[in-house]
Amino acid sequence: MKRFLLCLIVAGCAAPSPAPVEEPSKPEAQKPTETVAVAGLMESARADAAAGRLTNAAASLERALRLEPRNPRLWQELARVRLKQGDFTQAENLAARSSTWAGNDSALRAENWRVIAQAREAMGDGRGAQAARDNAERMAR
């Protein structure tokens, strides 16, 4: 059931997706236009994550999310940190959350599907992982 919900949210995953028709009345996808403040926090989160300081990385990202709660890149980065921390359930949910704010940025949504695929793989859900990878493919096309 949950899988189904996640499918629904990121894109029509079961249905062969028709040429996606986006309407510009959607909230604008937040392209990389972070403020200096958020950009700085993201940078330090990446440095922390690369150095294995995952708790610090998560803290910086949550701090950034308080400043820009609708920034899908922050949600995605946090999903990635959770993935590294082995918190696969949160990784999957956070990636799905990222996609809700991603608007028509299909590259970002494809990346979220890849995070979801990795999380499912790690949880031993091979089929779910494959479905997620398929979605990523479709989005990236």
């Binding site: 629904l8 028709v21 009345s25 708790t55 999310l65 709660p69 609708r70």
Partner: protein, 772 residues
């Protein structure tokens, strides 16, 4: 062998016995002194902090509000200067701040000067003293309370090197001139005291002649009674203490131990906390006059309380200054200068907490993970999500409206109570919590503990359950609001009536929710199945078991305002359940991180039905029972909300959210008496006033891919176009909108709309093409 006289022998035994006994006692005391003095950790309360205000280009805060927060932090307004930090200088659209250093959960922030430039309620730029842009800087968070040990003893530890020498000089001149030379006691003082004791045998009372060491022993190890025996013990222990420890160590402990006043229920101990409590600064920045005032208070913190007995405190301070001068510790010039200084007190803080209701929530959440004893003694630092601006706005909105209701007696006798919870819809963090009309009252917390019937607040769960079946239910599905009787075995017939005592025939689904029609909602809920609706309620995050009766659907269920906030939180965050929480981080006293309370999201409900439900809840505010919000916030905010009123109008609720905040308001009587309350008339104004004072962000939900919007003619609930009178654009899951066109839909209108659609699509196509 010469035999000594027997009497002498016995005397010898007695002497020996006495010596052994005395040594045993001394040994015992020695053990106590060393073990307790060394093992002794001052019981340090957990200190609870509000959120730290983030300053960066784009922070939405009016300059006046930032100034207010700085004043609450006891920053002094004065011309820009270097030292000490803790000041701000004000100009038009500009604040220059000398930030104090602070140990945050993720490291220390050094003291620094920043300039904050404003532009109509928003920070335009933050820069350093040289004019370079500062990306992000934190203001130290307000301390909003603590979790205190027995007696509500509060203190802030200081090292001796952080205590100004003037304070030590004044202390020694006043309390114990020979401190650096004596061995723990002052023989002359003791003799004087002993003589007094001998002359006054009857009462056995002894006083005076205490050295600093003796005072410390007395406070540390002994009961406050005054007997010869206790005095002797004190003396022995003082000597032992001096044998084991240096003067510096004893002095440092003394400075942290002393009692220096009372802040309502909170006992102020140590010069570190006293410096903050009386002067709003760290101990190391105390000047001579301030130091002398604190030293003078030792004689009687109540009698010489500078806030209550300014004159007595001033005279006492000047006496201390004179003594210090007479002892040669300060020059006559220093004396004259300090003597001419006013008391210089900071505004009085607010007892154990200005926001006891929120502190209670924090304490409860902490107790899941920490031992209560540790919370009261280990000096943990708790960083929370309380936003003082939001808290202030919530307290004010509730108090003001309740006072007005009392005066008008519109809803019943005076004595109405209320509660408010405000959260961030994205993170689930609690920004404000008010437990009653007297926000300073440390008792019954209605926001956490008053489980009351929620009335129509549960209805969204019925409609959400329906909208999750898009093939059966859309926002315009006709519902029957005719008389309705529910029969079930073992329960009396249930026959819900509408608030206006009328039935409204067939109404579109969205109107049934907007107008909160009971018959239509009950029919829909029972059609779907009570169990399914209650399952939705659980998914939304309500953990309290609800009875599986049909009447539960219309709000016979009892919930606390905090539980309601959790339920609406899940709706506001697009179907992702995020636990409502108040704590962000916990560190040790030294700033070592212990625990982070991480952001958790769990997708509980698919986004499509949540999107449709939110549109319907926006309808409540736009054209339904919540439309009086119009007089508080502009329609552009597009807030979503729901009113709640219970049987015999005992409870009034309003729950809803904007783009950046979610709030739940409850109003009612503690004794649950029948009244004339309604959600719209009693709770909504509090909600509206609260939100209006915080400049709400518009609510713009991210639209799921499979949702489309269609013009609907409200007369026929058929597909219309912008040419239809009062036509509304409503969201539908693709393929579920009405096919049939309303007669009002003109060809011209349809063409305009089609062209409009085409333009939108083309624009979207171009956007994609150019990767925008």
């Amino acid at each position: 062998m010469a035999r000594r006289p027997r009497i002498l022998r016995y005397f010898g035994y007695a002497l020996l016995f006495g010596a052994v006994l005395a040594s045993a006692v001394v040994l015992y005391l020695d053990l106590r002194v060393t073990r307790e003095f060394e093992g002794r950790r001052f019981a340090l309360p957990a200190r609870i902090y509000a959120r730290a205000l983030e300053l960066h280009a784009g922070t939405r805060i009016p300059q006046a509000d930032l100034e207010h927060e700085l004043r609450q932090l006891a920053y002094k307004e004065k011309p820009a200067s270097e030292d000490p930090p803790g000041w701000f200088a004000r100009r038009e659209d500009e604040l220059e701040i000398g930030l104090r250093p602070f140990m945050f959960w993720d490291g220390a922030q050094a003291p620094r000067r920043v300039r904050v430039l404003f532009d109509s309620g928003v920070v335009r730029r933050v820069e350093d003293a040289d004019g370079r842009e500062v990306a992000l800087v934190r203001l130290e968070p307000l301390a909003i309370g603590g979790i205190y040990p027995a007696g509500n003893e509060d203190r802030e530890l200081v090292r001796l090197r952080d205590v100004p020498p003037e304070l030590v000089k004044a202390l020694i001149a006043t309390e114990d001139r020979k401190f650096y030379s004596h061995a723990g006691f002052d023989l002359r003082g003791i003799l004087r005291a002993a003589a007094r004791a001998v002359l006054n045998l009857g009462s056995e009372r002894v006083q005076g002649g205490s050295t600093i060491t003796q005072q410390l022993v007395k406070n540390f190890f002994l009961t406050p009674e005054r007997t010869v025996r206790r005095k002797a013990t004190e003396l022995v222990m003082a000597v032992l203490l001096e044998m084991h420890y240096g003067k510096e160590e004893i002095l440092e402990t003394y400075l942290n131990e002393i009692y220096l006043g009372q802040d309502r229920d909170r006992a102020i101990h140590g010069v570190g906390l006293a410096a903050q409590f009386y002067f709003g600064k760290e101990a190391r920045y105390l000047n001579l006059a301030e130091s002398a005032l604190l030293v003078g208070m030792l004689k009687g913190p109540a009698v010489y309380d500078p806030r209550r007995h300014a004159q007595a405190a001033l005279e006492r301070r000047n006496l201390v200054l004179r003594e210090t001068r007479d002892q040669g510790f300060i020059t006559p010039d220093q004396y004259a200068q300090a003597r001419a200084t006013p008391l210089g007190l900071s505004p009085r803080p607010m007892g154990t907490s200005p926001h006891p209701a929120f502190v209670q929530l924090v304490h409860r959440q902490l107790r899941r993970d920490y031992d209560d004893a540790d919370l009261r003694t280990e000096g943990l630092r708790i960083f929370t999500s309380l936003d003082p601006r939001v808290q202030g706005a919530a307290e004010q909105a509730l108090a003001k409206r309740l006072a007005q209701f009392d005066k008008e007696r519109r809803f019943g006798e005076p004595g109405l109570e209320g509660a408010v919870v405000v959260t961030d819809p994205q993170s689930g963090e609690v920004q404000a919590l008010v437990g009653g009309r007297d926000a300073r009252y440390r008792g019954y917390n209605r926001a956490l503990d008053a489980a009351r019937p929620v009335g129509s607040l549960l209805k969204p769960a019925i409609y959400l359950t329906a909208l999750a079946e898009p093939s059966r239910y859309t926002l315009v599905t006709p519902l029957d609001d005719g008389p309705f009787v529910w029969k079930s075995r073992g329960a009396p017939d249930w026959q819900p009536a509408n608030y206006d005592r009328k039935f409204h025939g067939v109404v579109p689904l969205r109107m049934a929710l907007a107008q909160s029609y009971n018959a239509a909602s009950a029919r829909l809920g029972t059609e779907l199945g009570v169990d399914r609706v209650l399952d939705t309620v659980r998914r939304l995050g309500v953990e309290r078991p609800l009875r599986p009766f049909a009447s539960t659907l219309l709000g016979a269920a009892e919930m606390t305002p905090l539980e309601v906030a959790q339920m609406y939180q899940t709706i506001a965050s697009g179907g992702f359940r995020t636990p409502v929480r108040a704590i962000r981080e916990v560190t040790t006293q030294m700033g070592q991180p212990l625990q982070r309370y991480a952001l958790q999201v769990n997708q509980a409900v698919p986004p499509e039905p949540i999107y449709l439900l939110t549109a319907a809840l926006q309808g409540v505010v736009r054209e339904g029972t919540g439309q009086s919000l119009r007089s508080f916030i502009t329609p552009e905010v597009a807030a979503a909300g729901k009113t709640g009123t219970t049987d015999e109008q005992r409870d009034a609720w309003f729950a809803g959210f904007t783009g950046d905040r979610l709030a739940v308001v409850w109003i009612g009587y503690d004794d649950n008496r029948a009244a004339r309350l309604s959600g719209a008339a009693a709770a909504l104004p509090v909600w509206g006033e609260l939100m209006a004072s915080l400049a709400p962000e518009p609510l713009a939900l991210p639209r799921p891919d499979s949702i489309e919007t269609v013009w609907i003619d409200p007369q026929t609930n058929l597909r219309g176009d912008s040419a239809c009178a009062g036509a509304v654009e409503l969201p539908f899951v693709q393929g579920t909108a009405p096919e049939q066109r309303s007669p009002c839909a003109t060809t011209a209108g349809a063409v305009v709309d089609a062209v409009d659609q085409g333009v939108k699509r083309a624009k979207s196509w171009l956007d994609r093409l150019f990767g925008r």
